[in-house]
Amino acid sequence: METNFILAGFGGQGILLAGTILANAFMLEGKNVTWYPCYGAEMRGGTVNCEIVVSDTEVSSVHKQDTDYALVLNQQSFDKFVKRVKAGGTIISNSTLVADSRPRNDINYIFAPMTELANNLGTSKVTNIVSLGVLASVCNIVSKDYLAKGIEKVLNEKKKDLIPLNIKALNAIEKECLV
């Protein structure tokens, strides 16, 4: 079985890092995974996204036209990727920056105030990690334990002191709080 994710937001929101942590979590869990970024002449403040495909067998195509899950941290990304969610798929939005609208009735919507939750921890910089915590609460193939291991692996090299804050961010949301 193959499942794919698109993570999207402003450049600077830590989208590629969040994707890297998610892909590492899958790898540490022993799954096959690929991570593919949009790349090119992007400007600071523009949008950025990456696609993660996870599979029990070898990953087929790395870059797909539609997605099972979209995790969007800003309005532009919501507008762009709500169209690319598969019927029955889920779009998870940062309600601090994304207005509550539901333009399609064949997909699931999750809204969580990710930037606000990050600010409660003292910095909006961990919005991306809060969003991964939300994703894990919604999507049962993403494990918070492995995400924590992914954070440790990715941050271990240069930013070891930030691991406790990021683990806190990962657990910022309780499943019951989601709407």
Binding site: M27, W35, Y39, S60, S61, H63
Partner: protein, 359 residues
């Protein structure tokens, strides 16, 4: 070297594999989508006391590689499509001089300056070359990040083993994506270069490496020798992968990262009850002509899937030599052909043939 898997970008994987393979010198000039190779090596090589030069142009870079490998050390450059075009003259010289140049081409879209997104339009450039004269290059095409590692190792080994330039033909998708890969140690023996390398003539007769033979007979013999060498390379080094070809009526064929998509399409079509196989050359040069011809003799039709206007298609057609049929499913560049698109194209082709057979 740890066997543990790491999540790594194709470009970084190629760069680290080059380090492990014992690449002593890297010369390059930045271009998307392969700039990470030079970026990674700029820090790494200095720390290891090896050579790194950000050259003033691609032309300079490939000529620096030629100079370095003449002394018997392993060296490489990397670039992308339109900048690899600039290196073609040097590749012809390197092939003639029998220099073990390693060149990585992380393909983007052409022709001309083109576009920075992935494509497979440099098949002809790599396999047939843009340099003058009768020369041949070894071309390896990875399909996963793990193969970016494995085939970089192989590129350095084959280059020295046969004293022949080798191109690692990746694409922007492989260069930019991350996937778990393990490195292990460089798996090949070190090649003895002492019989030809320019290491200073103290205590021995002087040597020259040059590509002009001011003598007709010598030049004729030189070309024959080069081609005899490539025949040996073809016999020893041609490699490919095949899946479910034994009972297949149709064989999907692709190279590089498109291989992943044809394998997935094959599985979907098999679930629908169609007898589909998949075939993928790992060496584009030498090309697995013999194996494709064998399969064609068994009346298996081929469907070539590639992100160009049908470049490998011609080689498959040549290999089949009229013994079965070959169709092309392609797009010149842009979004990679999806599994769904390949499946529906194959179904259309099969439907058309069944209709033609029924009337």
């Amino acid at each position: 070297m740890e066997k543990e898997k790491v999540l790594i970008k194709g470009n970084y994987a190629i760069a680290q594999a080059a380090v492990n393979a014992g690449c002593q010198c890297y010369f390059g000039y930045p271009i998307t989508p392969q700039t990470e190779i030079g970026e990674y090596l700029s820090g790494k090589m200095q720390g290891l006391g090896r050579g790194y030069v950000c050259a003033e142009s691609e032309l300079a870079a490939i000529n620096m590689v030629m100079g370095a490998v003449s002394t018997g050390v392993k060296a490489m450059t990397s670039s992308s499509s339109c900048a690899v075009a600039l290196m073609q003259e040097a590749l012809s010289y390197a092939a003639s001089d029998e220099l073990p140049v390693v060149l990585v081409n992380v393909m983007r879209t052409g022709p001309g300056l083109g576009y920075i997104y992935p494509a497979q339009g440099d098949y002809n450039q790599a396999v047939y070359g843009g340099g003058n004269g009768d020369y041949k290059i070894i071309v390896l095409a990875p399909s996963t990040v793990q193969e970016c590692v494995d085939l970089t190792y192989r590129a350095f080994y084959l280059a020295q083993k046969y004293r022949n330039p080798v191109i690692l033909l990746a694409d922007g998708l492989l260069g930019q994506m991350m996937e778990p890969a393990s490195f292990g140690d460089y798996p090949y023996p070190e090649v003895d270069v002492s019989s030809w390398a320019l290491t200073g003539a103290k205590g021995r007769e002087a040597r020259k490496i040059y590509s002009v033979a001011p003598d007709e007979k010598k030049q004729i013999q030189h070309i024959y020798d080069l081609h005899k060498k490539f025949e040996v390379i073809s016999q020893n080094e041609t490699s490919y992968e095949e899946f479910n070809v034994d009972d297949a009526d149709y064989i999907l064929t692709a190279f590089g990262s498109m291989t992943r998509n044809i394998k997935a399409a094959m599985n979907v079509l098999r679930e629908k009850g169609l007898k589909i196989g998949a075939f993928r050359p790992i060496t584009l040069s030498p090309f697995p002509y013999t194996r494709i011809n064998e399969l064609a003799t068994k009346k298996k039709d081929f469907i070539v899937v590639e992100m160009n206007m049908g470049q490998m298609f011609k080689d498959v057609k040549y290999a089949i030599n009229g013994k079965s049929n070959v169709e092309l499913v392609n797009r010149p560049c842009g979004e990679w052909l999806s599994v769904e698109e390949i499946v529906s194209s194959v179904e259309k082709i099969i439907g058309r043939k069944q209709y033609a057979a029924s009337i």
